[in-house]
């Protein structure tokens, strides 16, 4: 398995731990990550609001880089996954394609639409497979109740993402089970984290994040896990402010998807960047009987 690795902006900056964990897990599972320092930001949905055609063109450039290398693209962020897939979809419209081609051609770039965009969650569940992951687990996450938090753009709009059911997805829960943990089902798992308006109207964004964390908690979750670093910002980096907004103690550890996998495959908390979180993951680690990996 070999992919053009598209880490996205946040995993290279404030969410560096996501990149660390992805590399650790990929090395273990034989996923080869080919790096392209020429990848740009996906626009994160914000660029699309300012200039839709520029957003598609910028992502067409990213997709062309992978296509030229003959590789599919691996994302580790629901929003990157959404934006790059959205660009692929828009480029199926001949009018849009002509406008984008017109802007790319003078740069000597062409994109024929072949690059498939795949999120790490999909690679783990569809290509590596739950059975193989289960067989490689060294520290089963037995007893840990984990609420999956999918992130909007991995799922919706479902006809554009062409993914599993957007209303009742189960891939993440299947993976959590394969790691030995117990998935928690709650409505909030397919809801929004509030991030897109965190810098527009923070109290509202925090109320939305709070609602999902409280929902997971009410259903017994010891921790939540997300395949999107933007959700991680809302749920972890801002959890102190979220707690204040909703007026409740939350103390909910939030794992990045590959951190949870890495933990089960035997990585140390440091190798996965867990100390970089704003909300301590210790309560979850204690449930697992500390951090020592059984021999």
């Amino acid at each position: 398995m070999k992919f053009a690795y598209y880490p996205g902006c946040v995993a290279q900056e404030s969410g560096k731990e996501l990149d660390l964990a992805t590399r650790w897990v990929s090395a273990r599972l034989g996923i080869e990550l080919v790096e392209f320092p020429s990848f740009s930001c996906c626009g994160s949905g914000f660029l699309d609001e300012a200039n839709g055609i520029l957003n598609v063109a910028l992502n067409a450039r990213n997709l062309a880089i992978a296509e030229k290398a003959g590789l599919d693209l691996l994302t580790i962020c629901s929003t990157c996954q959404g934006m790059l897939t959205y660009a692929n979809r828009r480029l199926e419209n001949p009018t849009v394609k002509a406008r984008v081609d017109g802007a790319l051609a003078p740069l000597g770039i062409s994109y024929s639409g072949k690059t498939r965009v795949t999120h790490l969650l999909q690679v783990l569940t569809e290509q590596v497979g739950a059975d193989r992951i289960r067989s490689m687990v060294r520290r089963p996450l037995t007893g840990l109740k984990v609420g999956a938090f999918y992130g909007c753009h991995l799922l919706r709009p479902a006809d554009e993402m062409r993914s599993e059911s957007a209303e009742e997805p189960h891939s993440f829960e299947d993976l959590i089970s394969a790691l030995g943990a117990t998935p928690v089902l709650y409505r909030g798992r397919v809801m929004c984290c509030g991030f897109p308006i965190l810098f527009v109207k923070e109290p509202t964004a925090n109320r939305i994040a709070g609602r999902q964390i409280l929902d997971a908690k009410a259903h017994g979750a010891d921790a939540m896990a997300t395949p999107c670093p933007l959700c991680h910002i809302s749920l972890d980096s801002f959890q102190n402010k979220v707690a204040k907004e909703v007026g409740e103690k939350l103390d909910m550890p939030i794992f990045h998807l590959p951190q949870l996998v890495g933990l089960a495959l035997g990585a140390t908390p440091e190798e996965l960047g867990l100390p970089r979180h704003m909300v301590s993951t210790d309560s979850a680690l204690q449930k697992l009987g500390g951090v020592a990996v059984p021999a």
Partner: protein, 326 residues
Amino acid sequence: MFAAEKLITVPFDVYRYDPTRGGEPRYQHYELRLAPHTPILSGLLRIRDELDPTLTLRYSCRSAICGSCAMLVNSKSRLACHTPVGPEVAEHGRIVVDPMRNQPVLRDLVVDQKPFWTRYEQMDPHLIPDPLRPMPEGRPTQMTPAQVDRFKETPRCIACASCYSACPAVEADPEFPGPMALAKLYRFVVDPRDGAHKARLQKIQTSGLWLCLRCHLCTEACPKDVRPSERIRDLKELAVRAQGGTEPGSRHAIGFMKNIEEAGTLNELKLVRQTSGLSGMVAAAGQGIRLARKKPELLKGPKTIEGIAEVRKLYAALEKDEEVPL
């Protein structure tokens, strides 16, 4: 002739609540023998007509046209008249029916839609002619197919309020008008016969447009493929292009665009300044310092990508592109 469909047992758990009588909402269990293709609405009406005349629900056309019977079926937004019982029983073993969200329950499955309609009315959802270009009298105004194409999705809306029910921004903030109201507004903003484009965009920029989370829950819930989240996206781009960064939301979108032009990748710290200005930076400083202790990269800023010149050329070619929306 078709072979007769085998009947199946359909367990219903239906939300019951009468706020005028107090007490807590509860689920009432009913069982029917139905053909798998039977619409859930028909099942509910049989319960009401044969088992329990107190069950209260709203419906009319039974043909997915009137939008009255939107409700939650096993937690999913559905028109009850358009959803067969068979697949739900196969998937979930039963059919749990709840009233729509984000609207107060009047009784059982009937919700108070007043806020939904009020917000719609606040959009002035009718043509406002341009006084300088009066509509021709005695003959219809004409539009080109391309002009009609720009709002071909919105007239499909049947005002069932499924989008309003699904929307987390509606749930969290009374300022947000909701997906349907904004999709309808979009329809008038791009209608060439309407003379109030600018005023409409100006008004909505300061009254909730930028609270849309683009989570696409509305588009997923819509039974008519109106795709409200995409219409809201179009409205935002139109607002940005017509009026620039007048609000935190449009400033953020424009700030983001400029941010990527500089290094090709996001500078998180700089973006806060671009959206919120210096005063916003000061207000966010406490949280910023807390974050930077664990995440020192925040203060360093990103490495410029290779090929940034290509990115900037794309900007130069498309930044002034007037042909909107996509």
